[in-house]
Subunit: 554 residues, 2 copies
C-alpha cells in the first residue's frame, strides 16, 4: 500500500477542512501520554538531551567542518555541532535529486510528505524541547506551535499542493471533429515539473511553524529544498531535516531532496539566495533582509513574511474586564515575540464606554497594566506564559523603550527569575503611552514585549489610522473592540481596503495572536507584512509548471 | 435569472475541459452564417467600416483630446480617433469602481464576464475585420484567432478564476471542542478582494488573443482593468472595452471597471505601470520592455509573455513530404509573426533518414524552400496565409536578413501584390542557412518571416543546443521529427529540464504554432519566454486575496 493510499483519508479530510474553513486538526495539541504514548515525554526529553554537546550527523554533500551557532535564551548549554556544508555542493546535490522526484509524480510525493508529517508528529516532544531551548518559548507553546500546529500548517500546504496538482491529467486524447471527415486525434501528455531548488529561510522564533509551509509546499510540488534555519534556532530544523532525509532514503529517493544549510554569515545566505539554480525562496524575518531578497533574487519566486504593525482598536465594550484579560494575555504570550502580537492599542482620547461605565484613556492604560500584573502575579505562570527573550536586539530594545525614548512608561518591564533555568532572559511586557502624532515612536515594528497605547482623537480617526498603518507598514492582525455595529462595519471595510485579517471583540479563550490552520489564513498576502498566505492556492500553484508534449494518434 | 445561472452549464463544461485537457470549444471557429447568422458577415463589415474616419466614443474619465495612432499593414485608411485620457484619471475612476465590484462577489463577477464573452462572440466578424486591418493577419486567422479562439482563452481564464474563488466559503462556523466543556465557537467570514487596478498591455499582432486572458482573469477576480493596447492595434481592444463598459453599465456597475488607455508614448505606459495603485500587469511584447516592467514595477505582479527562440529539430522522418508541407505552413502562417512560429530548424550536417531515402542537409534546405514555394504558388492562397507584415521593424529585419548578414540565403523573401489591397505589405518567408557556431545570427529572436536552417554536428548536439536555447533565450514551442524513440525520449527529457512544450512529428493538419484553449498550455511559465501560462491556477490564484474576520458566537 502506497503512502498516498495509506494517508488518503487524511488528505481528503484536510482539503475538506481547508475548503470549509471549519475547525479541524489531526494532531493533538495536548501533550498527553494517552495520545503520544506513556514514554513520549521522557523519550523526547532524552532525545533532545542526547543532541546537546555533540555533532548532529546529516551525511550531507560538501561538508567542510562543523558549526555550533546556538545560544539558548534559557541559558542552557546546547553546543550542538551541525555540518558546515559548501552551499554550492548542497545545490548540486539538490539538483541531482530532482529528476527522480519529478518522475515519482505528485501522488507519491504527496504521500511521502504526509508520512513525514506523521513521523514528525510522533517526535513532537523532542521537537518541542528543541524549540523551547532555542527560541525561548514557554513549554506549552513550544509543544503546540512547534509541534502539532506546525504539523497542521505543513499538512495544509501539502493538501493545497495535492489539490492543485491532482487536477493536471497525466495525459489526454484531444479529438477535434472535422465535419464528415475523421476527427483529428492527438495524445497529449502533461508532466508536472518543479521550478528548481527551493530555499526556505527560517526565523529565530518559530523555526518549525514558519518553515514547514514553504518546505512542504515546495517539496510536494516537485522541488528539492534547502532549509536555512536562523542560526539561533537550528535544532528543530535539523531534527526535521534528518527525519525527512531518513524517510526519503528508506523509500529509495535521494535524501538530498531535503538538506540543511547552517550558517551565521549573511553573505553565505545571500549567495545561496541569488544562485541561478534557486527558483523559490520562502522567508520569514526582518524587513531589511526580506526586501533585500525581493530586490536581488529576481531569478526566484519569493514568498516573504516580514515585519508588521499589528494593532488593536478599542472603541467600547460590554465586557471590560474580559477585554483587559484577553489583551493582557496577547501582549504577554511569548513576550510579544509573535509576528501576530499587537503592538499599538488605539484608544480615543476621550475614553471609552464599557459595561462598567465610561473609562478614561488614563484608566484604560492603568487597567491594562494591572491586568498584565494580575496575569503575571504567580512567577511560575509568568515564566510559562512569557517564555524567554530570544535575541540580544530585543533585550536592547526593551532598554531603549524603558528609558522613555518612545513615550511615557505606563508599565515598566521587569526581569524575572525562572524557577528552573537560572540563566533565562525573562522580561515582562513594557507598556508605553503616546499620542497619534508620535509616529516616530510607534509607526514601526518594535519587536518584543513592547506595546503602545496610542491616544487618538476619535474612533473615526483610529479607523483611518489603522488603514494607513496596514497600507504603509503592513500587519498580520488587527483587532477591534466595539459595541457599535457601525464601528465594526467601518473597520471591516478598512481592512478590506488594506487587506488584513480582523478579530472582533475577543474576550474569551481565543487570542488575536492565534491563527488556526485549515481555518485562519495567516497573512492575507495583500499588505506589506507578507506577500503570501498560509495557505491558499496561490501559495502552491506557482511552485510547479506543466510541460506538455503532443503527437498524432490514429 | 442571474448571468451566472444562465451560463453555469457553460462554466462547468469549460472547467471540465480544462481539467481533462480534451478538445472543446463553445465558439465556432468557422465564420459560418448558419452559426453566426445570415447577416453577421455583412453586419460585421459595416460595423467595422463605420468606425473608420471617426471618433470612437467611450465616455471615459479624464478625456483631454483624441488620438489616431493606427496604420494598417494592408494600407487601409483607418483613421479611428480614440479618447486620449489622463492615466491618473483612469486609475482614480478604476479605483472608485472596485468596491461595488468586490461586493458583488465572485459568482456575479464570473457570470457577467461569461456574458461579456458571449456578446464578444456575437461580434466576431466586426472584431475580425478590426484585427485583420490593424495586425495584417489574413482573414481566416483574424476571424479565428481574433474571435472564437480568443474568446476560448477568455472563457478558460474565467473558468479558472471561478474554480479558485468558488472554493473560498463566504463564512464558516469554527467549533473547537473543549473536552467536557462547551466548545469554543466562532463565526468566520471571508471576503475575496482584488489586488488593485490591473493593467493589461497588448501587443501589435494578437490584440485580443493575448489581451483577453489577463483582462478576464483580473476582472473576474475583483479587479478593475485598464487595457493599454499596442498603438497600432487599438480597434479590436476598443470594441472589446466598449462592449464590456456597456454591459457593466447595463447591470448597474461602474463602467470604469474596464477602460482603455490609448497612447503611443512609452513614458505614459511606464508611468501607468509604475503607479502605486497598479497591482498587476499583463504584458505581451518585447523582451526589452518586458524586462523593464519586471525590473521597475515592484508594486505589481507581472505576468509577461516575451520573445523566445522557438525551434524544430529534424532527426528523421517516415513522412518527408508531409513534414516539409507542415513546416512550410508553420513558417508562412501570418509571415512568422506568431509568438509560436519556429525560427531555427536544427538539421544534422550529415543529413537525415526519410521514407524517401537519406536526404542531405543541402537537400532538406532546398526541399523546404520548394515546399514554401509550392504553398505560395497561388497568389490568393499566398496572401491569405501570409497576411501582411505588421511593423516597420519587421520590414527592416527582412532586408537585413536578405542581405546575407545572418547567413546564406536559401530562399529570398519576395514582395507580393495583394489582389484586393494594393498597399498591403506582403513578404514571403526568407530562409537562411547557417552553422551551429553562428550564434550571433540565430541565437536571438528575429521576429517575422525569417527562419534559419542551422546545421548541427549530430542529433545529440541538437538536443543539447535545444535545451540551452530554451534555458537562455526562452521558447514557447519546440518541435521534433524523429522515427527513433530514443531521440524523442531525449528531447522530452530536455524539454522537462528547460520547461517548454514539445510537439512530436507533426505531419498532419496541426501546426506547432497552434495552441488550443482548454487543452494546450500556452507557455509553461518556466522559461525566459514567459513567466505565466494560458491558463492554469497560477494565472489566477494570486490576482485576489482573502480578507477574513472572526468573532465569537454562542
Amino acid at each position: 500500500m502506497s503512502w498516498f493510499d495509506r494517508h488518503q483519508a487524511l488528505i481528503d479530510r484536510a482539503l475538506k477542512a481547508a475548503n470549509e474553513r471549519s475547525y479541524w486538526s489531526p494532531f493533538s495539541e495536548m501533550p498527553s501520554p494517552k495520545v503520544y504514548g506513556e514514554s513520549a515525554q521522557a523519550d523526547g526529553k532524552s532525545a533532545f538531551e542526547s543532541y546537546c554537546g555533540g555533532p548532529f550527523e546529516l551525511d550531507q554533500a560538501g561538508q567542510r567542518g562543523w558549526i555550533t551557532p546556538e545560544a539558548s535564551p534559557y541559558g542552557l548549554s546546547l553546543n550542538v555541532a551541525y555540518p558546515n556544508c559548501d552551499p554550492q555542493a548542497l545545490i548540486a546535490a539538490a539538483q541531482a535529486a530532482m529528476p527522480a522526484w519529478q518522475a515519482a509524480g505528485a501522488r507519491e510525493r504527496v504521500g511521502l510528505c504526509v508520512q513525514a508529517i506523521t513521523e514528525l508528529n510522533a517526535r513532537s516532544f523532542e521537537i518541542a524541547h528543541a524549540v523551547m531551548a532555542t527560541t525561548g518559548q514557554g513549554w506549552m507553546m513550544a509543544f503546540q506551535a512547534g509541534g502539532p500546529h506546525a504539523q497542521d500548517r505543513a499538512l495544509e500546504a501539502v493538501a493545497y499542493a495535492w489539490q492543485e496538482q491532482s487536477r493536471i491529467p497525466a495525459e489526454s486524447v484531444w479529438e477535434k471533429p472535422q465535419g464528415k471527415n475523421p476527427p483529428i486525434r492527438m495524445r497529449k501528455q502533461f508532466e508536472i515539473v518543479g521550478r528548481g531548488v527551493a530555499l526556505v529561510i527560517g526565523c529565530g522564533t518559530f523555526p518549525t511553524w514558519n518553515t514547514y509551509p514553504g518546505l512542504f509546499a515546495a517539496l510536494a510540488t516537485g522541488n528539492a529544498v534547502i532549509v536555512k534555519p536562523h542560526p539561533n534556532a537550528v535544532l528543530p530544523a535539523a531534527i526535521t531535516v534528518r527525519v525527512m532525509r531518513q524517510l526519503l532514503a528508506a523509500q529509495g529517493f535521494d535524501p538530498n531532496l531535503v538538506s540543511l544549510c547552517v550558517t551565521d554569515k549573511p553573505e553565505v545566505t545571500q549567495a545561496l539566495a541569488t544562485h541561478p539554480a534557486v527558483a523559490s525562496i520562502d522567508f520569514t524575518g526582518s524587513n531589511a533582509f526580506g526586501r533585500w531578497l525581493i530586490e536581488h533574487c529576481r531569478q526566484a519566486q519569493v514568498y516573504a513574511e516580514l515585519a508588521g504593525l499589528n494593532h488593536v482598536l478599542i472603541d467600547s465594550t460590554s465586557a471590560y474586564k474580559a477585554l483587559l484579560d484577553n489583551l493582557a494575555f496577547s501582549l504577554c504570550l511569548y513576550s510579544g515575540q509573535m509576528c501576530t502580537t499587537p503592538q499599538a492599542i488605539l484608544v480615543p482620547q476621550g475614553g471609552i464606554e464599557t459595561d462598567e461605565g465610561p473609562k478614561s484613556l488614563e484608566a484604560v492604560q492603568t487597567d491594562l497594566a494591572a491586568a498584565i500584573d494580575r496575569l503575571l502575579a504567580k512567577p511560575e505562570v509568568a515564566c510559562a506564559v512569557l517564555g524567554a527573550v530570544q535575541s540580544k536586539e530585543t533585550l536592547e530594545r526593551i532598554e531603549v523603550a524603558g528609558s522613555g525614548a518612545w513615550g511615557r512608561v505606563v508599565r515598566p518591564s521587569a526581569a524575572l527569575v525562572h524557577p528552573e533555568f537560572s540563566g533565562a532572559q525573562i522580561h515582562s511586557p513594557l507598556l508605553l503611552s503616546c499620542s497619534m502624532e508620535d509616529e516616530a515612536a510607534y509607526m514601526q515594528e518594535r519587536f518584543g514585549p513592547i506595546a503602545f497605547v496610542v491616544s487618538v482623537p476619535s474612533t473615526e480617526a483610529a479607523v483611518q489610522l489603522s488603514e494607513r498603518m496596514v497600507r504603509e507598514q503592513g500587519a498580520l492582525t488587527v483587532s477591534v473592540y466595539s459595541t457599535r455595529e457601525s464601528v465594526i462595519e467601518a473597520l471591516t471595510r478598512a481592512t478590506w481596503r488594506s487587506r488584513v485579517a480582523l478579530s472582533i471583540n475577543l474576550t474569551g479563550p481565543v487570542y488575536v495572536n492565534q491563527s488556526a490552520a485549515f481555518s485562519d489564513y495567516h497573512g492575507t498576502g495583500g499588505n506589506p507584512a507578507a506577500n503570501a498566505s498560509y495557505a491558499d492556492s496561490a501559495f502552491v500553484a506557482n511552485r510547479f509548471r506543466v510541460v506538455q508534449r503532443r503527437q498524432h494518434i490514429d
